[in-house]
Protein backbone atom coordinates (compact mmCIF):
# COMPACT_ATOMS: atom_id res chain seq x y z
CA UNK A 1 0.00 0.00 0.00
CA UNK A 2 2.84 2.39 0.85
CA UNK A 3 4.41 1.65 -2.48
CA UNK A 4 1.09 2.36 -4.20
CA UNK A 5 0.67 5.70 -2.43
CA UNK A 6 4.18 6.70 -3.38
CA UNK A 7 3.42 5.86 -7.01
CA UNK A 8 0.19 7.81 -6.76
CA UNK A 9 1.86 10.95 -5.50
CA UNK A 10 4.50 10.84 -8.27
CA UNK A 11 2.06 10.13 -11.06
CA UNK A 12 -0.41 12.70 -9.77
CA UNK A 13 2.22 15.40 -10.11
CA UNK A 14 2.98 14.13 -13.57
CA UNK A 15 -0.69 14.10 -14.56
CA UNK A 16 -1.21 17.62 -13.28
CA UNK A 17 1.50 18.87 -15.60
CA UNK A 18 -0.53 17.58 -18.54
CA UNK A 19 -3.85 19.22 -17.72
CA UNK A 20 -4.37 20.43 -21.28
CA UNK A 21 -3.89 16.89 -22.52
CA UNK A 22 -6.48 15.61 -20.07
CA UNK A 23 -8.86 18.32 -21.16
CA UNK A 24 -8.64 17.23 -24.79
CA UNK A 25 -9.29 13.59 -23.85
CA UNK A 26 -12.23 14.82 -21.83
CA UNK A 27 -13.62 16.62 -24.89
CA UNK A 28 -13.11 13.49 -26.96
CA UNK A 29 -15.25 11.60 -24.43
CA UNK A 30 -17.96 14.20 -24.06
CA UNK A 31 -18.60 15.44 -27.59
CA UNK A 32 -19.86 12.21 -29.21
CA UNK A 33 -22.36 11.74 -26.39
CA UNK A 34 -23.43 15.37 -26.61
CA UNK A 35 -24.07 14.77 -30.31
CA UNK A 36 -26.34 11.86 -29.38
CA UNK A 37 -28.19 14.01 -26.88
CA UNK A 38 -28.81 16.65 -29.56
CA UNK A 39 -30.05 13.97 -31.93
CA UNK A 40 -32.54 12.76 -29.35
CA UNK A 41 -33.54 16.33 -28.63
CA UNK A 42 -34.45 16.66 -32.33
CA UNK A 43 -36.38 13.36 -32.21
CA UNK A 44 -38.33 14.49 -29.17
CA UNK A 45 -39.42 17.64 -30.97
CA UNK A 46 -41.89 15.42 -32.84
CA UNK A 47 -42.60 12.54 -30.42
CA UNK A 48 -43.05 12.33 -26.68
CA UNK A 49 -41.54 8.95 -25.96
CA UNK A 50 -38.90 6.67 -27.42
CA UNK A 51 -39.32 3.26 -25.84
CA UNK A 52 -39.80 4.04 -22.16
CA UNK A 53 -37.80 7.26 -22.37
CA UNK A 54 -38.84 10.88 -22.30
CA UNK A 55 -36.36 13.53 -23.36
CA UNK A 56 -35.54 14.29 -19.78
CA UNK A 57 -34.93 10.67 -18.88
CA UNK A 58 -32.76 10.01 -21.93
CA UNK A 59 -30.69 13.06 -21.06
CA UNK A 60 -30.15 11.78 -17.54
CA UNK A 61 -29.44 8.33 -18.97
CA UNK A 62 -26.67 9.57 -21.25
CA UNK A 63 -25.15 11.73 -18.53
CA UNK A 64 -24.99 8.77 -16.16
CA UNK A 65 -23.47 6.36 -18.68
CA UNK A 66 -21.01 9.01 -19.81
CA UNK A 67 -19.98 9.65 -16.21
CA UNK A 68 -19.34 5.97 -15.66
CA UNK A 69 -17.32 5.73 -18.86
CA UNK A 70 -15.21 8.74 -17.93
CA UNK A 71 -14.60 7.70 -14.33
CA UNK A 72 -14.25 3.95 -14.71
CA UNK A 73 -12.42 3.25 -17.95
CA UNK A 74 -8.67 3.59 -17.71
CA UNK A 75 -6.13 3.46 -20.51
CA UNK A 76 -2.98 1.69 -19.37
CA UNK A 77 -2.85 -0.23 -22.67
CA UNK A 78 -1.07 2.54 -24.58
CA UNK A 79 1.77 2.90 -22.12
CA UNK A 80 2.13 -0.84 -21.61
CA UNK A 81 2.31 -1.50 -25.33
CA UNK A 82 4.92 1.22 -25.67
CA UNK A 83 6.96 -0.23 -22.81
CA UNK A 84 6.96 -3.60 -24.53
CA UNK A 85 7.66 -2.32 -28.03
CA UNK A 86 10.42 0.09 -27.07
CA UNK A 87 12.07 -2.12 -24.51
CA UNK A 88 11.31 0.14 -21.54
CA UNK A 89 9.72 -2.83 -19.82
CA UNK A 90 13.17 -4.12 -18.93
CA UNK A 91 13.82 -1.08 -16.77
CA UNK A 92 10.73 -1.93 -14.71
CA UNK A 93 11.54 -5.60 -14.47
CA UNK A 94 14.88 -5.06 -12.80
CA UNK A 95 13.43 -2.82 -10.10
CA UNK A 96 11.82 -4.23 -6.95
CA UNK A 97 8.39 -2.82 -7.74
CA UNK A 98 5.12 -4.04 -9.10
CA UNK A 99 4.61 -3.08 -12.72
CA UNK A 100 0.83 -3.39 -12.54
CA UNK A 101 0.60 -1.42 -9.32
CA UNK A 102 2.58 1.37 -10.88
CA UNK A 103 0.18 1.73 -13.79
CA UNK A 104 -2.86 1.37 -11.56
CA UNK A 105 -1.59 4.37 -9.55
CA UNK A 106 -0.88 6.21 -12.78
CA UNK A 107 -4.41 5.65 -14.06
CA UNK A 108 -5.92 6.65 -10.74
CA UNK A 109 -3.93 9.88 -10.83
CA UNK A 110 -5.17 10.67 -14.34
CA UNK A 111 -8.72 10.01 -13.23
CA UNK A 112 -8.30 12.51 -10.39
CA UNK A 113 -7.13 15.16 -12.82
CA UNK A 114 -10.04 14.28 -15.09
CA UNK A 115 -12.36 15.24 -12.21
CA UNK A 116 -11.11 18.83 -12.55
CA UNK A 117 -13.06 19.07 -15.79
CA UNK A 118 -15.73 16.53 -15.10
CA UNK A 119 -17.17 18.04 -11.92
CA UNK A 120 -17.70 21.58 -13.32
CA UNK A 121 -19.13 20.02 -16.49
CA UNK A 122 -21.68 17.98 -14.54
CA UNK A 123 -22.61 20.93 -12.33
CA UNK A 124 -23.27 23.13 -15.36
CA UNK A 125 -25.25 20.46 -17.18
CA UNK A 126 -27.35 19.62 -14.13
CA UNK A 127 -28.10 23.29 -13.61
CA UNK A 128 -29.16 23.58 -17.25
CA UNK A 129 -31.41 20.51 -17.19
CA UNK A 130 -34.96 21.60 -16.50
CA UNK A 131 -36.15 20.03 -13.26
CA UNK A 132 -38.98 17.67 -14.08
CA UNK A 133 -40.70 14.78 -12.40
CA UNK A 134 -37.81 12.62 -13.48
CA UNK A 135 -34.73 13.14 -11.40
CA UNK A 136 -31.64 11.53 -10.02
CA UNK A 137 -32.28 9.80 -6.71
CA UNK A 138 -29.42 9.90 -4.30
CA UNK A 139 -29.99 7.84 -1.18
CA UNK A 140 -27.75 6.06 1.28
CA UNK A 141 -28.81 2.70 -0.16
CA UNK A 142 -27.99 3.84 -3.69
CA UNK A 143 -24.61 5.14 -2.66
CA UNK A 144 -23.82 2.00 -0.66
CA UNK A 145 -24.58 -0.21 -3.66
CA UNK A 146 -22.91 2.11 -6.13
CA UNK A 147 -19.55 2.29 -4.41
CA UNK A 148 -18.60 -1.41 -4.58
CA UNK A 149 -19.92 -1.64 -8.15
CA UNK A 150 -17.85 1.36 -9.10
CA UNK A 151 -14.65 -0.03 -7.59
CA UNK A 152 -15.21 -3.45 -9.15
CA UNK A 153 -15.82 -1.81 -12.52
CA UNK A 154 -12.66 0.26 -12.27
CA UNK A 155 -10.56 -2.79 -11.43
CA UNK A 156 -12.26 -4.93 -14.05
CA UNK A 157 -11.65 -2.44 -16.82
CA UNK A 158 -8.09 -1.96 -15.62
CA UNK A 159 -7.32 -5.65 -16.05
CA UNK A 160 -9.11 -5.76 -19.39
CA UNK A 161 -6.98 -2.89 -20.67
CA UNK A 162 -3.84 -4.44 -19.20
CA UNK A 163 -4.55 -7.63 -21.15
CA UNK A 164 -4.93 -5.59 -24.32
CA UNK A 165 -1.64 -3.83 -23.59
CA UNK A 166 0.09 -7.19 -23.04
CA UNK A 167 -0.98 -8.28 -26.50
CA UNK A 168 1.96 -6.15 -27.65
CA UNK A 169 4.13 -9.10 -26.61
CA UNK A 170 2.85 -10.90 -29.70
CA UNK A 171 1.60 -8.14 -32.01
CA UNK A 172 3.82 -5.13 -32.53
CA UNK A 173 0.80 -2.92 -33.02
CA UNK A 174 -2.44 -3.20 -31.10
CA UNK A 175 -4.46 -0.25 -32.39
CA UNK A 176 -6.91 -2.57 -34.07
CA UNK A 177 -7.52 -4.42 -30.81
CA UNK A 178 -7.99 -1.20 -28.85
CA UNK A 179 -10.45 -0.06 -31.52
CA UNK A 180 -12.29 -3.36 -31.44
CA UNK A 181 -12.76 -3.32 -27.66
CA UNK A 182 -13.88 0.30 -27.89
CA UNK A 183 -16.57 -0.68 -30.40
CA UNK A 184 -17.79 -3.51 -28.18
CA UNK A 185 -17.84 -1.17 -25.22
CA UNK A 186 -19.76 1.57 -27.05
CA UNK A 187 -22.41 -0.81 -28.27
CA UNK A 188 -22.81 -3.09 -25.26
CA UNK A 189 -22.31 -0.69 -22.37
CA UNK A 190 -25.23 1.40 -23.58
CA UNK A 191 -23.10 4.41 -24.45
CA UNK A 192 -24.20 4.51 -28.08
CA UNK A 193 -27.90 3.88 -27.50
CA UNK A 194 -29.66 2.88 -24.26
CA UNK A 195 -29.28 -0.89 -23.99
CA UNK A 196 -33.02 -1.47 -23.69
CA UNK A 197 -33.59 0.28 -27.04
CA UNK A 198 -31.34 -2.21 -28.86
CA UNK A 199 -32.89 -5.14 -30.73
CA UNK A 200 -33.29 -8.22 -28.54
CA UNK A 201 -30.42 -10.16 -30.16
CA UNK A 202 -28.01 -7.39 -29.23
CA UNK A 203 -29.41 -7.21 -25.72
CA UNK A 204 -28.77 -10.94 -25.40
CA UNK A 205 -25.18 -10.58 -26.59
CA UNK A 206 -24.68 -7.86 -24.00
CA UNK A 207 -25.39 -10.30 -21.18
CA UNK A 208 -22.36 -12.38 -22.18
CA UNK A 209 -19.95 -9.43 -22.07
CA UNK A 210 -18.67 -7.49 -19.05
CA UNK A 211 -19.60 -4.01 -20.29
CA UNK A 212 -23.22 -4.15 -19.25
CA UNK A 213 -22.39 -5.09 -15.65
CA UNK A 214 -19.49 -2.66 -15.35
CA UNK A 215 -21.08 0.41 -16.93
CA UNK A 216 -24.77 0.12 -17.70
CA UNK A 217 -26.09 -1.36 -14.46
CA UNK A 218 -24.18 0.93 -12.06
CA UNK A 219 -25.13 3.94 -14.18
CA UNK A 220 -28.81 3.07 -13.73
CA UNK A 221 -28.62 2.92 -9.94
CA UNK A 222 -29.49 6.57 -9.47
CA UNK A 223 -32.31 6.50 -12.00
CA UNK A 224 -34.15 3.31 -11.12
CA UNK A 225 -33.37 1.60 -7.84
CA UNK A 226 -32.37 -2.03 -8.05
CA UNK A 227 -33.83 -4.61 -5.67
CA UNK A 228 -31.36 -6.19 -3.22
CA UNK A 229 -31.44 -9.43 -5.24
CA UNK A 230 -30.65 -7.64 -8.48
CA UNK A 231 -27.90 -5.71 -6.76
CA UNK A 232 -26.31 -8.85 -5.34
CA UNK A 233 -26.62 -10.57 -8.68
CA UNK A 234 -24.83 -7.75 -10.48
CA UNK A 235 -22.14 -7.60 -7.82
CA UNK A 236 -21.67 -11.35 -8.18
CA UNK A 237 -21.30 -11.14 -11.95
CA UNK A 238 -18.90 -8.22 -11.58
CA UNK A 239 -16.73 -10.20 -9.15
CA UNK A 240 -16.79 -13.15 -11.52
CA UNK A 241 -15.65 -11.00 -14.44
CA UNK A 242 -13.00 -9.36 -12.31
CA UNK A 243 -11.58 -12.73 -11.28
CA UNK A 244 -11.60 -13.98 -14.87
CA UNK A 245 -9.89 -10.84 -16.17
CA UNK A 246 -7.33 -10.70 -13.36
CA UNK A 247 -6.37 -14.36 -13.82
CA UNK A 248 -6.18 -13.89 -17.56
CA UNK A 249 -3.99 -10.83 -17.11
CA UNK A 250 -1.65 -12.81 -14.88
CA UNK A 251 -1.54 -15.68 -17.33
CA UNK A 252 -0.86 -13.41 -20.30
CA UNK A 253 1.84 -11.58 -18.33
CA UNK A 254 3.65 -14.82 -17.57
CA UNK A 255 3.38 -16.11 -21.12
CA UNK A 256 4.40 -12.74 -22.47
CA UNK A 257 7.54 -12.49 -20.41
CA UNK A 258 8.62 -15.86 -21.80
CA UNK A 259 8.56 -14.42 -25.31
CA UNK A 260 9.82 -10.98 -24.35
CA UNK A 261 13.23 -9.96 -25.58
CA UNK A 262 14.48 -6.50 -24.80
CA UNK A 263 16.92 -5.38 -27.42
CA UNK A 264 19.78 -3.04 -26.79
CA UNK A 265 19.18 -2.66 -23.09
Amino acid sequence: MRQFLAFLSITLKDALVYRARSFIWFLADVIPVTTSIFFFSAIFSTTNTVGKYSFQSILVYYLMVLSMEILVISHPEFAIAEDINHGFLATYLIRPLSYLKFYAANELAYKMVRLLFFIPFMVIVLLLVPQGNYSIQISLYNLATFLPMFILAFCGFYFLKVIIGFMAFWFTEIWWLIGFIEILDMLFSGLLIPLDLLPLTFQKIATFLPFKYFIYVPSQLFITSLSPTQTLMNLGIQVLWLVILALLAKFVWRKGLETYASFGN
Partner: protein, 264 residues
Protein backbone atom coordinates in the same frame (compact mmCIF):
# COMPACT_ATOMS: atom_id res chain seq x y z
CA UNK B 1 5.66 24.58 -63.65
CA UNK B 2 5.39 25.05 -59.90
CA UNK B 3 2.33 22.84 -59.78
CA UNK B 4 3.94 19.98 -61.67
CA UNK B 5 6.93 20.08 -59.34
CA UNK B 6 4.67 19.64 -56.32
CA UNK B 7 2.71 16.90 -58.04
CA UNK B 8 5.93 15.05 -58.80
CA UNK B 9 7.01 15.46 -55.19
CA UNK B 10 3.69 14.20 -53.92
CA UNK B 11 3.85 11.14 -56.19
CA UNK B 12 7.24 10.38 -54.65
CA UNK B 13 5.75 10.68 -51.16
CA UNK B 14 2.94 8.35 -52.13
CA UNK B 15 5.37 5.71 -53.37
CA UNK B 16 7.48 5.80 -50.21
CA UNK B 17 4.46 5.75 -47.94
CA UNK B 18 2.82 2.89 -49.83
CA UNK B 19 5.96 0.83 -49.39
CA UNK B 20 6.02 1.62 -45.69
CA UNK B 21 2.36 0.78 -45.22
CA UNK B 22 2.57 -2.51 -47.05
CA UNK B 23 5.41 -3.74 -44.88
CA UNK B 24 2.89 -4.72 -42.26
CA UNK B 25 0.13 -6.35 -44.25
CA UNK B 26 -1.59 -7.99 -41.31
CA UNK B 27 -1.89 -4.61 -39.59
CA UNK B 28 -3.12 -2.99 -42.76
CA UNK B 29 -5.83 -5.61 -42.96
CA UNK B 30 -6.78 -5.52 -39.26
CA UNK B 31 -6.85 -1.74 -39.03
CA UNK B 32 -9.05 -1.52 -42.08
CA UNK B 33 -11.32 -4.21 -40.73
CA UNK B 34 -11.84 -2.15 -37.59
CA UNK B 35 -12.64 1.01 -39.57
CA UNK B 36 -15.21 -0.97 -41.55
CA UNK B 37 -16.80 -2.18 -38.30
CA UNK B 38 -16.82 1.44 -37.08
CA UNK B 39 -18.71 2.42 -40.22
CA UNK B 40 -21.22 -0.37 -39.62
CA UNK B 41 -21.65 0.79 -36.03
CA UNK B 42 -22.56 4.27 -37.23
CA UNK B 43 -25.13 2.83 -39.62
CA UNK B 44 -26.52 0.53 -36.93
CA UNK B 45 -26.87 3.52 -34.64
CA UNK B 46 -29.23 5.19 -37.08
CA UNK B 47 -31.06 2.00 -37.99
CA UNK B 48 -31.71 1.26 -34.30
CA UNK B 49 -32.94 4.74 -33.55
CA UNK B 50 -35.13 4.96 -36.64
CA UNK B 51 -37.04 1.93 -35.38
CA UNK B 52 -38.71 4.43 -33.06
CA UNK B 53 -39.31 7.30 -35.46
CA UNK B 54 -40.00 7.74 -39.18
CA UNK B 55 -38.30 11.08 -39.66
CA UNK B 56 -36.35 13.53 -37.55
CA UNK B 57 -37.12 17.12 -38.54
CA UNK B 58 -37.54 16.07 -42.15
CA UNK B 59 -34.57 13.69 -42.22
CA UNK B 60 -35.62 10.16 -43.11
CA UNK B 61 -33.33 7.17 -42.54
CA UNK B 62 -32.30 7.00 -46.21
CA UNK B 63 -31.25 10.62 -46.16
CA UNK B 64 -29.28 10.16 -42.97
CA UNK B 65 -27.57 7.20 -44.63
CA UNK B 66 -26.57 9.39 -47.57
CA UNK B 67 -25.14 11.88 -45.09
CA UNK B 68 -23.36 9.10 -43.20
CA UNK B 69 -21.88 7.92 -46.49
CA UNK B 70 -20.49 11.37 -47.17
CA UNK B 71 -19.18 11.59 -43.62
CA UNK B 72 -17.37 8.26 -43.91
CA UNK B 73 -15.90 9.01 -47.32
CA UNK B 74 -14.76 12.36 -45.99
CA UNK B 75 -13.25 10.65 -42.99
CA UNK B 76 -11.44 8.07 -45.07
CA UNK B 77 -9.94 10.66 -47.43
CA UNK B 78 -8.90 12.86 -44.55
CA UNK B 79 -7.44 10.06 -42.51
CA UNK B 80 -5.50 8.78 -45.51
CA UNK B 81 -4.08 12.06 -46.75
CA UNK B 82 -3.79 14.30 -43.73
CA UNK B 83 -4.21 12.67 -40.35
CA UNK B 84 -0.83 10.92 -40.11
CA UNK B 85 0.81 14.28 -40.67
CA UNK B 86 -1.32 16.08 -38.11
CA UNK B 87 -0.82 13.33 -35.54
CA UNK B 88 2.92 14.06 -35.41
CA UNK B 89 2.61 17.82 -35.80
CA UNK B 90 3.09 18.60 -32.09
CA UNK B 91 6.08 16.30 -31.83
CA UNK B 92 7.72 17.93 -34.83
CA UNK B 93 7.39 21.35 -33.27
CA UNK B 94 8.20 20.32 -29.72
CA UNK B 95 11.31 18.31 -30.52
CA UNK B 96 12.63 20.82 -33.00
CA UNK B 97 12.27 18.39 -35.92
CA UNK B 98 10.73 21.28 -37.81
CA UNK B 99 14.27 22.32 -38.66
CA UNK B 100 14.50 19.51 -41.20
CA UNK B 101 11.37 20.77 -42.89
CA UNK B 102 12.27 24.45 -42.89
CA UNK B 103 15.63 23.96 -44.57
CA UNK B 104 14.09 22.20 -47.57
CA UNK B 105 13.44 24.30 -50.68
CA UNK B 106 9.72 23.51 -50.69
CA UNK B 107 6.71 25.17 -49.10
CA UNK B 108 6.87 24.10 -45.44
CA UNK B 109 3.12 23.95 -44.95
CA UNK B 110 2.89 21.55 -47.89
CA UNK B 111 5.58 19.32 -46.39
CA UNK B 112 4.20 19.26 -42.88
CA UNK B 113 0.63 18.61 -44.07
CA UNK B 114 1.10 16.09 -46.84
CA UNK B 115 4.39 14.23 -46.62
CA UNK B 116 2.82 11.22 -44.91
CA UNK B 117 0.08 9.06 -46.27
CA UNK B 118 -1.73 6.21 -44.60
CA UNK B 119 -3.80 3.31 -45.84
CA UNK B 120 -5.20 2.47 -42.42
CA UNK B 121 -8.66 3.82 -43.21
CA UNK B 122 -8.55 3.15 -46.91
CA UNK B 123 -11.26 0.51 -47.03
CA UNK B 124 -13.60 2.80 -45.13
CA UNK B 125 -13.80 4.71 -48.40
CA UNK B 126 -15.57 1.79 -50.01
CA UNK B 127 -17.72 1.25 -46.93
CA UNK B 128 -18.74 4.89 -47.07
CA UNK B 129 -19.44 4.75 -50.80
CA UNK B 130 -21.56 1.63 -50.35
CA UNK B 131 -23.63 3.32 -47.64
CA UNK B 132 -23.93 6.44 -49.77
CA UNK B 133 -25.22 4.47 -52.75
CA UNK B 134 -27.49 2.40 -50.52
CA UNK B 135 -29.04 5.61 -49.19
CA UNK B 136 -29.43 7.09 -52.67
CA UNK B 137 -31.13 3.94 -53.98
CA UNK B 138 -33.35 3.58 -50.90
CA UNK B 139 -34.44 7.23 -51.15
CA UNK B 140 -35.12 6.71 -54.88
CA UNK B 141 -33.24 9.88 -55.74
CA UNK B 142 -32.97 10.87 -59.38
CA UNK B 143 -29.63 12.52 -59.81
CA UNK B 144 -28.32 14.42 -62.80
CA UNK B 145 -24.65 14.81 -63.65
CA UNK B 146 -24.87 18.48 -62.78
CA UNK B 147 -26.10 17.66 -59.29
CA UNK B 148 -23.29 15.17 -58.77
CA UNK B 149 -20.79 17.85 -59.70
CA UNK B 150 -22.42 20.35 -57.38
CA UNK B 151 -22.45 17.87 -54.50
CA UNK B 152 -18.82 16.90 -55.08
CA UNK B 153 -17.86 20.55 -55.35
CA UNK B 154 -19.45 21.29 -51.97
CA UNK B 155 -17.71 18.19 -50.61
CA UNK B 156 -14.33 19.47 -51.81
CA UNK B 157 -15.03 22.84 -50.21
CA UNK B 158 -15.75 20.96 -46.98
CA UNK B 159 -12.36 19.24 -47.22
CA UNK B 160 -10.54 22.55 -47.62
CA UNK B 161 -12.44 24.10 -44.73
CA UNK B 162 -11.75 21.19 -42.40
CA UNK B 163 -8.11 21.06 -43.42
CA UNK B 164 -7.67 24.78 -42.71
CA UNK B 165 -9.50 24.76 -39.38
CA UNK B 166 -7.73 21.63 -38.22
CA UNK B 167 -4.36 23.00 -39.26
CA UNK B 168 -4.99 26.26 -37.43
CA UNK B 169 -5.98 24.40 -34.27
CA UNK B 170 -2.59 22.65 -34.37
CA UNK B 171 -0.75 25.96 -34.39
CA UNK B 172 -1.56 26.11 -30.68
CA UNK B 173 1.41 23.75 -30.34
CA UNK B 174 3.72 26.72 -30.77
CA UNK B 175 2.18 28.22 -27.65
CA UNK B 176 1.26 25.25 -25.51
CA UNK B 177 4.24 23.01 -26.11
CA UNK B 178 4.08 19.29 -25.73
CA UNK B 179 0.42 18.31 -26.01
CA UNK B 180 0.68 15.11 -27.95
CA UNK B 181 -3.07 14.72 -28.41
CA UNK B 182 -3.64 18.26 -29.69
CA UNK B 183 -4.95 16.93 -32.97
CA UNK B 184 -7.80 15.24 -31.15
CA UNK B 185 -9.02 18.67 -30.13
CA UNK B 186 -10.43 19.53 -33.53
CA UNK B 187 -11.13 15.89 -34.29
CA UNK B 188 -13.65 15.74 -31.46
CA UNK B 189 -15.37 18.86 -32.74
CA UNK B 190 -15.30 17.48 -36.26
CA UNK B 191 -17.26 14.41 -35.12
CA UNK B 192 -20.33 16.56 -34.64
CA UNK B 193 -20.72 16.59 -38.42
CA UNK B 194 -21.92 13.00 -38.46
CA UNK B 195 -25.31 14.45 -37.58
CA UNK B 196 -27.26 16.68 -40.00
CA UNK B 197 -26.28 20.16 -38.90
CA UNK B 198 -29.87 21.41 -38.93
CA UNK B 199 -30.80 18.93 -36.21
CA UNK B 200 -28.73 20.93 -33.74
CA UNK B 201 -30.39 23.71 -31.76
CA UNK B 202 -30.57 26.95 -33.70
CA UNK B 203 -27.47 28.37 -32.08
CA UNK B 204 -25.49 25.29 -33.08
CA UNK B 205 -26.70 25.61 -36.64
CA UNK B 206 -25.49 29.21 -36.72
CA UNK B 207 -22.11 28.26 -35.27
CA UNK B 208 -21.61 25.45 -37.78
CA UNK B 209 -22.55 27.76 -40.62
CA UNK B 210 -20.70 30.94 -39.73
CA UNK B 211 -18.10 30.29 -37.04
CA UNK B 212 -16.93 26.75 -37.81
CA UNK B 213 -18.49 26.16 -41.25
CA UNK B 214 -18.62 22.38 -40.88
CA UNK B 215 -21.98 22.35 -42.62
CA UNK B 216 -20.06 21.71 -45.85
CA UNK B 217 -18.61 18.41 -44.62
CA UNK B 218 -21.64 16.17 -45.07
CA UNK B 219 -24.88 18.11 -44.62
CA UNK B 220 -24.73 20.31 -47.73
CA UNK B 221 -23.22 17.70 -50.09
CA UNK B 222 -26.01 15.32 -49.01
CA UNK B 223 -28.79 17.88 -49.25
CA UNK B 224 -27.58 18.89 -52.72
CA UNK B 225 -28.75 15.47 -53.91
CA UNK B 226 -32.41 16.08 -53.12
CA UNK B 227 -33.00 19.79 -52.84
CA UNK B 228 -31.69 22.81 -54.71
CA UNK B 229 -28.81 24.57 -52.98
CA UNK B 230 -29.02 28.34 -53.16
CA UNK B 231 -26.38 30.20 -55.13
CA UNK B 232 -25.64 32.22 -52.04
CA UNK B 233 -24.52 29.11 -50.13
CA UNK B 234 -22.30 28.03 -53.03
CA UNK B 235 -20.60 31.42 -53.22
CA UNK B 236 -20.36 31.57 -49.43
CA UNK B 237 -18.70 28.16 -49.35
CA UNK B 238 -16.13 29.08 -51.97
CA UNK B 239 -15.28 32.36 -50.26
CA UNK B 240 -14.99 30.74 -46.83
CA UNK B 241 -12.78 27.95 -48.15
CA UNK B 242 -10.43 30.40 -49.86
CA UNK B 243 -10.28 32.74 -46.89
CA UNK B 244 -9.68 29.96 -44.36
CA UNK B 245 -6.98 28.34 -46.48
CA UNK B 246 -5.25 31.69 -46.84
CA UNK B 247 -5.65 32.35 -43.13
CA UNK B 248 -4.12 28.98 -42.25
CA UNK B 249 -1.08 29.86 -44.36
CA UNK B 250 -0.84 33.35 -42.92
CA UNK B 251 -1.03 32.07 -39.33
CA UNK B 252 1.49 29.34 -40.10
CA UNK B 253 4.04 31.91 -41.19
CA UNK B 254 3.24 34.05 -38.20
CA UNK B 255 3.76 31.05 -35.92
CA UNK B 256 7.06 30.20 -37.59
CA UNK B 257 8.43 33.53 -36.49
CA UNK B 258 8.04 32.47 -32.87
CA UNK B 259 9.65 29.09 -33.50
CA UNK B 260 12.97 28.80 -31.73
CA UNK B 261 13.94 25.21 -32.54
CA UNK B 262 14.88 22.80 -29.77
CA UNK B 263 18.57 23.22 -29.28
CA UNK B 264 19.01 26.93 -29.69
Amino acid sequence: MMMSRYLKLYTAFLKINLKRELQYRAHFFLDNLITIIWSCLLVLYYIFIYRYTAAVRGWRLEQVLVLTGFYLVFNSIFKSLIEQNFAQFTRIIYRGELDYILVKPVNSQFLISLSRFSLRSFLRLFGGLAILIWGIVAAKLKISVLIIFLSLGMFAIGQIIVYSLWFMSLLLAFRLGNIENLYYFFMSIFQTTRLPINLYPHIGELIFTFVLPLIFVATIPAQALWQPISGLIIIYGIVVAVVLLWLSHYLWQLALRSYTSASS
